[in-house]
Symmetry: C3
Subunit: 357 residues, 3 copies
């Protein structure tokens, strides 16, 4: 599927700056767009990263001088970008599938699908993959070779799995991201046009939820292992060979490097970036980006050394408070004694300090 | 369905104070009972709110002077009230449903139910609603128009949904509340005779659990949006247009106002009330009622301003501890020096202070 | 199923110390092995508990002098032990089951299985048990009498339930434990050869996950009640009559006594032991063993009394910081004043102290 840039400008009613004959083969957010794909930049301060953007062209509300690509200038870039995303990946309205495997699905001869599973239109399933009872695979999903989908797994439309991916029972992949804007006192869902891409050798535990991206992919990197009841929100880009323990919650648009470890019940604020080999201790709440090769603890999370010191001192708070009271008393007595000895010449000052205390 | 008050008094073996000819058309907890419904009050100090109770009559263990309604006095009000609740909403024992749609279900002609879904006796489903593969709708449920129930959703008996309600995959509505009393060293489940009512325009994420009320409804207000893996316990009354983020846990009998926002992994203690426009930050643990129009952070949760100050000072605890030690040392030295200069006239006092420190 | 010790030594290529004619009837971890079962000890410091081990023999990498049992000495005890475990409980590779009830399953005449449920080879189901729509029971599972498995429950192979066990909708029992070792930069799943055993009168809420043990059972004790969205990891040994509230996460190999209560969103670090009648408050993070008959709060969790004191003082931190500053200022002024009066004879000392502060 491909389209010229001048046709895209026409489609979205925008002004094209640059070579309209260039060919576009997809649409993705800045960090994900390939050489031949369109992307979108909304804020001018995002232009700092412009050199790293590979896209063939950029949709933007105002001309970005520092960009080398052609640009399509529009009033509402989100609306325009959504239009292009929909052109390449037409949204599939929820509709009732037939029973069993749709005739347009391409199932490898050695793959096995249970008769109580539902496989919708346009799905492909690779060799030796197993689809267990009650699994539902919505339209446009792609499943590689040697995957196992345990009972009760649901894949929403356009989900894609690499090879040797294991999804344990009750896991839901690709549900709508939790994004709303308020209009007239009501929450209106923002477009959730993306999908979930899980790379090869990923294992996902039971009752996990991974939401689709807004425009592009929520991505789980190769070899990453995810424990039960983990929640990964829309647009997250999880690195390779991560270990994500049970009940971790990762808010929208987070990014983890490779070999990151998140212990049980950890939470990540949205838009956080964790460097390679970051380790976050159980129950920590990460509120800021973390450089890699370090351990973080606590909520708000801090480097281990700092947090351990604070934990230790917190246990001594009752002692500190007693010491403080004793000091206050001793100093007060001393000041009064000196005052008395002094004939009261400095008494006003002392009274003032005591009041301040 | 209706019954006279004198008949109810007879049914529960209680003493009626008031007009026995009045008609009762339901039974609900104090906050939920309508004008023509019976309610129950157990503790006399609950009588503070008696003016706000609309019920046609009250079941109580002792006469409440301040109540204007007729009262039915019984020894065990829980047992008596349960009897009346069961009269109006007969408990349905778990039993094996048939395959597909029960003949007594009323499905709108434009609604669509997947052949692998199970729709039990007495269920009604409104126009254009979609029931996806593997969904189970137990007896007595009511589903409005334009609802979508994604794969693997389970509705326990008597659940009711308004219009345009979306339930994502793997979500369980109406399971038994977690209420037990101990008898002879064993936990015995208390009656869970209530149900779940979800108002119109509510969207519920994947793998969410919302438990039924003990006697009446666990209620989700109109337009509220609930993210994946949220847990809402029995008897909660969630307001309108709330945003409840992923992995939030709300314990039993909580009440939220309108436009409340709970960020990821927040926990609410049971019987908490949050005012309109309350915002609770990620991972906070709310232990007390919160007035509205304010942000709360931390665990135990405090107003944002106070908590931010405490978070900031916690980071300075090591510095504070060092300062405290220095002060102690300086003051000790000073006291010793003055003592020496003093010829020891006050030495006893100082030794005492030092021992106290 | 039984085998002589000398045959086991032969099977694993080990050196037998002791009576080879003894009969072995199973293989289990040290705390679980019965009189006639084999166990494994890897670390010599584990020998402290040797007196309490009932096993008929021990697989170990080096002779344990203090053990009274026969021993089988091998280079890689994990590999050898896994071999014996597999001999007694052959691993069942994921494979596609047939539709409905397998002909080798033994279903009591009064039990009821919904036609959309899947019951695999070798399963037994006791009298009056109910298996609701969409439930999947994998090979080798045992279900007692009067159990209810609500819609969408999945039992992985070899799961066993006592009598009157209730599993609410969407719950997954016996998925693989989250155990990996790194090889050449990739995470490789360690053997998960165990199973889940749930004793009688246990009730499990909706969307719960309980993982199988590595070699033996993850065990839930009689009469214990588990709320929605709880996660219990591999090898845990949960005591009798516990109450485990919603969204609790228990990491691997934890052990709880009887009548333990874990409030909502509590987390337990792996290998923690909680004594009988331990109570852990909501959101607490337990990092160390807890003796019984006590309440623990906070993260890291501490005894209630200590933690409440710390919570209270944390709220006073801003006040403490102000007091500290005032004291510092007062003492500084005093020291300067004394210095001036002193003709400066001790000024060097004071400057030093101030610098240290």
């Amino acid at each position: 599927m491909e389209i010229r840039l001048d046709k895209i400008a026409e489609m979205v009613g925008g002004t094209l700056q640059g070579d309209g004959s260039l060919i576009c083969r997809g649409a993705n957010p800045p960090g994900q767009a390939a050489d031949d794909e369109l992307t979108m930049l909304v804020q001018v301060n995002q232009s700092a990263d412009i050199a790293s953007i590979k896209a063939v062209a950029i949709i933007t509300p105002q001309l970005i001088d520092s960009a080398s690509q052609p640009q399509i200038i529009v009033a509402d870039p989100h609306q325009a970008f959504a239009k292009v995303v929909k052109y390449f990946r037409p949204p599939i309205a929820a509709s009732l599938p037939g029973v069993g495997v749709d005739s347009s699905a391409a199932i490898a001869s050695s793959a096995k699908v249970h008769p109580t599973a539902t496989v919708c239109a346009g799905v492909t399933i690779g060799h030796r993959s197993l689809v267990m009872p009650g699994v539902v695979i919505m339209p446009g999903c792609t499943i590689g070779a040697d995957c196992i989908l345990y009972p009760g797994v649901t894949l929403y439309e356009y989900s894609s799995l690499g090879d040797r991916v294991v999804l344990h029972a009750g896991t839901t992949i690709g549900a709508h991201g939790f994004g709303y804007r308020q209009e007239n006192g009501r929450h209106v869902a923002s477009a959730q046009l993306g999908y979930v891409h899980i790379e090869s050798d990923v294992e996902v535990g039971a009752n996990v939820t991974i939401d689709r991206g807004s425009y592009g992919a929520t991505r789980i990197g190769e070899g990453t292992k995810i424990d039960n009841q983990v929640m990964i929100a829309h647009n997250c880009q999880i690195g390779k060979h991560n270990l994500i323990c049970s009940q971790v919650g990762i808010a929208g648009s987070c990014r983890t490097g490779d070999y990151v470890i998140l212990a049980g019940q950890v939470g990540l604020k949205d838009h956080i970036t964790l460097g390679d080999h970051t380790i976050v201790g159980a129950k920590a709440g990460v509120m800021d980006d973390c450089q890699g090769n370090q351990v973080y603890l606590g909520s708000p999370a801090m480097p281990q050394r700092e947090q351990m010191q604070i934990f230790a001192i917190e246990r001594k708070l009752p002692e500190m408070r007693r010491e403080l009271k004793t000091l206050k008393k001793q100093l007060g007595e001393l000041l009064r004694r000196l005052e008395d000895a002094d004939d009261g010449t400095t008494s006003d000052d002392h009274n003032e300090s005591e009041r301040a205390a």
